[in-house]
């Protein structure tokens, strides 16, 4: 009977378990020396590093797909039968910079963008103030007044 076979089956030895697991760790880049002669706990670090690598690769692939999508979205090719002179809607252009990879990078970019806006605003104020000054000077000259 199948049940009898199971009860009589010898459990695998540790050596057999190690031998079976060995190719898996080889695929992660672990060497023969490290697996058989190194510290047993080293496999944990390899598994963690492997997970990190897979996560990174997944992120990269997703990002690449998103860039391709953005590039295609900018092209009239995907619009079906675009009318003559078709232009993609505003904001649909290919991103000027790579997407931020982290929340921190996104925040830094936001701060940078705000700083740029502030600088532009100050420059506008200065230009306007200069224009007003010039205008006041011209009016003063025209009215025969002295301008301080």
């Amino acid at each position: 009977m199948d049940g009898d076979d199971l009860s009589e089956a010898e459990p695998p030895t540790l050596a057999e378990i190690f031998t079976e697991a060995f190719p898996y760790y080889l695929s992660m880049g672990m060497t023969y020396e490290e697996f058989w002669h190194g510290a047993p706990s080293l496999v944990r670090a390899y598994r963690k590093a492997y997970d990190m690598k897979r996560y990174e690769r997944n992120q990269e692939m997703w990002m690449q797909g998103r860039y391709i999508f953005e590039a295609l979205r900018c092209a009239p090719l995907l619009v079906g039968f675009p009318e003559k002179g078709y232009k993609p809607p505003s904001g649909a252009g290919y991103p000027e910079m790579p997407y931020p990879l982290s929340e921190r990078e996104a925040q830094e970019r936001e701060i940078e963008r705000e700083n740029e806006n502030t600088k532009r605003f100050i420059a506008q104020l200065e230009a306007e103030s200069k224009r007003n000054l010039e205008k006041a000077k011209k009016e003063a000259v025209k009215d025969g007044r002295e301008y301080d």
């Binding site: 030895t13 540790l14 050596a15 378990i17 190690f18 697991a21 697996f35 058989w36 002669h37 190194g38 510290a39 047993p40 706990s41 080293l42 496999v43 944990r44 963690k48 997970d51």
Partner: protein, 114 residues
């Protein structure tokens, strides 16, 4: 004389030599080939201790003679504590392959009731 620094290493000095006992998978493989069966209920703790003790020399002190190995074991204090530490070290060679830190969030807690 002996002090257990961590679960996977035993350090002590004997006759002017420093010994660091630990296992690697090669040592466990060799121990099994020599007849050691971890967790087997048939063997007495003393036989188990002898085999675990000798196997723990393989990684860092494989040239130590069996006479010296036995001599040191005879002089070790707290043999039951030593056996427990060696069992833990042996289990680490296997547990390190099996445990999965990634599933900690979904792990089911359990308690034993007598």
């Amino acid at each position: 004389m002996a002090d257990i620094k961590q679960v996977n290493q035993i350090n002590f000095d004997y006759n002017g030599h420093h010994y660091t006992l630990e296992y690697n998978r090669e040592a466990v493989k060799r121990m099994e080939a020599a007849g050691f069966k971890p967790g087997e209920s048939g063997s007495t703790p003393l036989i188990e201790l002898d085999m675990l003790w000798a196997g723990a020399f393989y990684k860092n002190h494989r040239k130590t003679s069996s006479k010296i190995i036995e001599e040191i074991l005879d002089k070790m204090k707290d043999k039951m504590g030593l056996l427990e530490a060696l069992r833990n070290m042996m289990a680490e060679t296997y547990n390190s392959l099996m445990d999965d830190e990634g599933d900690e969030g979904n792990a089911v807690e359990w308690t034993a009731t007598i």
